[in-house]
Symmetry: C2
Subunit: 137 residues, 2 copies
């Protein structure tokens, strides 16, 4: 199985520890095409590659993937854009969200019936969520 993992890069890297753990766990189910998104050394300034190259490479990967797993705690234009494309293309989409005081998830994500939305706080919860979502794919 090819899994596209989407998470904030230039929108902010506050949740990088979650991203790292998600990529680690997803590796048990298949190939994570965007493994670098979980890299602790990737900063909010990005990969240092040409933007057109990044856009076309990432959409190519998304197109060939079997599903999209998106961490949506930190607001991100790129993650939203990829969820918009994936839902148009009929890909299964799992969104992971860590609720906290003073934070509210976009209605475009929580209100979409093409998205499976799961809230979590700990890595243990992720294990169960992936088990449920990815075993059925």
């Amino acid at each position: 199985m090819k899994i596209y993992f989407a998470a904030s890069v230039r929108g902010g890297r506050d949740d990088w520890a979650s991203y790292l753990e998600i990529v680690r766990q997803l590796g048990d189910y298949g190939q994570v095409l965007t493994e670098h998104v979980g890299n602790a050394e990737l900063s909010a300034s990005g990969e240092g590659l040409d933007d057109r190259f990044i856009h076309d490479r990432d959409l190519g990967w998304l197109k060939e993937s079997d599903c999209l797993v998106a961490e949506v705690t930190t607001p991100s234009l790129g993650v939203g854009y990829e969820i918009g494309k994936a839902t148009e293309w009929g890909k299964p989409v799992l969104c992971l969200y860590r609720p906290a005081e003073g934070r509210a998830l976009s209605a475009m994500i929580s209100g979409s019936n093409a998205v499976t939305l799961k809230e979590y706080q700990s890595p243990k919860e992720l294990t169960e969520i992936f088990e449920q979502f990815l075993q059925s794919k």
Copy 2:
């Protein structure tokens, strides 16, 4: 002309003064379907409506619009999602961005050839940008 204006709501309302001015200027070209997004009284907690209702209403408006104008300075999942949909549906998309120190726009936006990206700092620049983009639509 029906114009869909997209800007951050739950991602943060730091740029609300820009949104207000954009909605005001867009009104000279046609009907702004999402006028409430420029409302200074709309907070990051959102409209207080059901998320499924907001999602379906907004996508319905986006579908019937002639173009999408998106303010992309504050990262937002919803704005990214709408840009993803609009580019899939072949709608003309104008993205407005105010560059600043320590901020970097998503490569999914700056690297997309389906998006017209314009940087601005003042309302005066917006006038020229709209003149150019909307007169041709």
